[in-house]
């Protein structure tokens, strides 16, 4: 377990009267360090919180933003809930699938980009909304798909995004 992740978890614990409340931020930090919540990552969270790895997995598996399987270097999420769907999110999703040659949810053959659909992200009036590595791209149009993928293919994911 790297010192920094352990330290980050201890800093999160300090915000709460009960260390168990720090489990979501701890899982988030671990995912940022390991790329996904591998058994090793869950072990690190368990050590940092003094909980069992099974409990960490039980909590992590409840939430959509935790990856229990490896993902690509970049994660592209297309909102297909009502407001975005009404204004063309479905065509956007198909365009992403064509360009990446993968069905959502899935990862491109080169392992670079994971594509998935997500439920309402809270950008309904500014849609269609696409989230790229947890940053929103709004008013996203079909012609934006290819340039975005080109940019992602040529860059690596920033290590610490929003901590």
């Amino acid at each position: 377990m790297s010192d920094t992740l352990y330290d980050e978890i201890q800093r999160e614990i300090a915000k709460y009267p009960d260390r168990r409340s720090a489990i979501l931020p701890a899982l988030r930090h671990a995912q940022e360090h390991y790329g996904w919540l591998s058994p090793e990552a869950l072990e690190a969270v368990a050590d940092g919180l003094d909980l069992s790895p099974a409990r960490c997995l039980a909590v992590a598996s409840f939430y959509d933003m935790f990856f229990l399987q490896p993902v690509g270097e970049h994660v592209v999420e297309v909102c297909t809930n009502l407001s975005c769907a009404l204004i063309g999110a479905d065509h956007l999703l198909r365009e992403f699938e064509r360009e990446l040659d993968v069905k959502a949810p899935g990862t491109s053959a080169d392992g670079k980009i994971t594509l998935r659909c997500v439920e309402c992200m809270g950008g309904c009036g500014w849609g269609p909304v696409v989230s790229v590595d947890e940053e929103y791209e709004e008013h996203f149009q079909i012609e934006d798909v290819a340039p975005l993928l080109e940019r992602l293919r040529s860059t690596s994911r920033p290590s610490e995004s929003h901590a």
């Binding site: 915000k15 709460y16 009267p17 009960d18 168990r20 409340s21 720090a22 489990i23 979501l24 931020p25 899982l27 988030r28 039980a58 909590v59 409840f62 939430y63 959509d64 933003m65 935790f66 297909t80 809930n81 009502l82 407001s83 769907a85 009404l86 204004i87 063309g88 999110a89 479905d90 065509h91 999703l93 198909r94 997500v118 439920e119 309402c120 992200m121 809270g122 950008g123 309904c124 009036g125 500014w126 849609g127 989230s131 947890e134 940053e135 929103y136 791209e137 709004e138 008013h139 996203f140 149009q141 934006d144 995004s161 929003h162």
Partner: protein, 448 residues
């Protein structure tokens, strides 16, 4: 791409966001009267503040519309009490709390500090949905600025009370917007609802008495303290006071968030603010308060935005998310997309919701593909009845209520799908690519 997001111009009656653009810097916020309400509240007792909230008759802005002042008065006594802000905004169509945070984060922080002072709270936690990464960072920045000014982390002027405010990010679960599920999540468990009692006012965050309010509700507190509860109650209608944020989306010329007095109507919002539907299209239906609410029809456009007016029209005002649907839209597809969401978000704890949302989705998928039968339309209604009111929380209801309204208002469309054996809508109808032929096979049946 246009600049993102694009904020609407303020309404003349706006109280929460009466300016264009954003005021994220504390200096700018204070130059416009910011934190004056906090200073005023420090000269008031807890009882006076609660009374002011009761006088305002402010109804909670999260969806249920419960009177905020009365809620505050229920908080159990104790030396360790907490304030939790519900920023888990995830009801489809809703993006108002996000705009409040993006444009006026200090108004929320000021409201939090006033509320903390009112309950002498040990700390406040802003539970913000995990996807709102940028918004969480903005709140962290606002808290740091308020800390530098001495509003957070050191005794408030003339008192020995110290306000502590933390941001707690969720991780992607609609159900965590439900208060007991949110508290389960904050307490480090899976985000599942729990039975009430005990109510959060008695046992909530860390099993201590907890006051839980929506972002918009708490952001309104400085307005009420500033102008006085009675004056605030003079805006809107008698039962629904003040202004409220409405999130307008779907088939409308100018989508966005609009702050409206609650005395206005859906026509004022959709046609007035939203500019109506795009050229050549007509209104088929509209969602009045988030996708969990029964839809309303074009002849109900003059319904008031007030809580009681929407109930009288047969629906609910909910979170204030208004989704406009034009005449090209397949309502079977619309119902299916609605149901799929609630199936995905059901936490699985209560059987009627866990199984019912799946059965509703299954049958709607058959309907949409033209593989359903007329009898199954009635079966759908029966399942809706069996889900509604039979679970710990209202997620199951949130699936049953709208789907029932889709069938009751557009039964002919469901019947046409059954008769034709396929969806009658043209290829360019909205959402046509969501359900391409390959995906039209029904879900594997779950055994009864």
């Amino acid at each position: 791409m246009p600049e993102s997001p694009t904020f609407a111009q303020p309404d003349a009656n706006a109280l929460l966001l009466p300016f264009a653009g954003s005021r994220r810097e504390i200096a700018e916020y204070e130059a416009n009267g910011g934190y004056d309400s906090l200073r005023k509240s420090l000269g008031m007792t807890s009882e006076q503040l609660v009374d002011e909230m009761i006088a305002s008759n402010l109804r909670g802005r999260g969806g249920a519309g419960f009177p905020a002042g009365r809620k505050a008065s229920f908080l159990a006594p104790g030396v360790e009490r907490y304030l939790v802000i519900n920023g888990d905004e995830s009801e489809p169509g809703t993006f108002k709390d996000r705009e409040i945070i993006l444009r006026n984060p200090h108004m929320l922080i000021e409201g939090i500090i006033i509320y903390l002072w009112m309950i002498r709270g040990a700390a406040a936690y802003i539970y913000i949905r995990g996807e709102y990464a940028k918004e969480a960072a903005i709140l962290e920045g606002a808290i740091a600025q308020a800390r530098e000014k001495g509003y957070i982390g050191s005794p408030l002027p003339g008192t020995d009370y110290v306000a502590n405010v933390y941001v707690h990010r969720g991780a992607g679960a609609y159900i965590c917007g439900e208060e007991t599920a949110l508290l389960s999540s904050l307490n480090g468990d899976r985000g599942q609802p729990t039975a009430k009692p005990p109510f959060p006012a008695v046992s909530g965050a860390f099993k201590k008495p907890t006051l839980l309010n929506n972002v918009e509700t708490v952001a309104t507190v400085p307005v009420i303290v500033g102008m006085g509860g009675a004056a605030y109650a003079g805006v809107g209608t008698e039962q629904s006071t003040g202004t409220k944020m409405f999130s307008l989306s779907g088939h409308v010329k100018n989508p966005g968030n609009y702050e409206m007095p609650l005395s206005a109507t859906y026509r004022d919002l959709i046609e007035g603010k939203g500019g109506g539907l795009p050229e050549g299209r007509t209104l088929k239906a509209f969602v009045p308060g988030g996708s969990s609410m029964p839809i309303l029809m074009p002849n109900q456009l003059d319904t008031g935005l007030a809580f009681e007016a929407v109930v009288a029209a047969g629906s609910m005002a909910g979170s204030g998310a208004v989704i406009v649907v034009d005449d090209r839209t397949c309502m079977v597809r619309f119902a299916l997309r609605t149901a799929e969401f609630y199936m995905h978000e059901s936490c699985g704890k209560c059987t009627p919701c866990r199984e019912g949302t799946r059965w509703i989705t299954e049958l709607l998928r058959k309907q949409e593909a033209g593989l359903g039968t007329l009898e199954e339309i009635d079966l759908l209604l029966e399942i809706c009845n069996r889900v509604e009111g039979n679970c710990l929380c209202v997620l199951g209801d949130a699936c049953a209520m709208p789907v029932r309204s889709h069938i009751n208002n557009f039964r002919h469309e469901f019947e046409e799908h059954c008769r034709l054996g396929h969806c009658p809508c043209p290829d360019d109808a909205p959402m046509s690519e969501l359900y391409p032929p390959l995906l039209k096979a029904p879900l594997p049946m779950v055994s009864a």
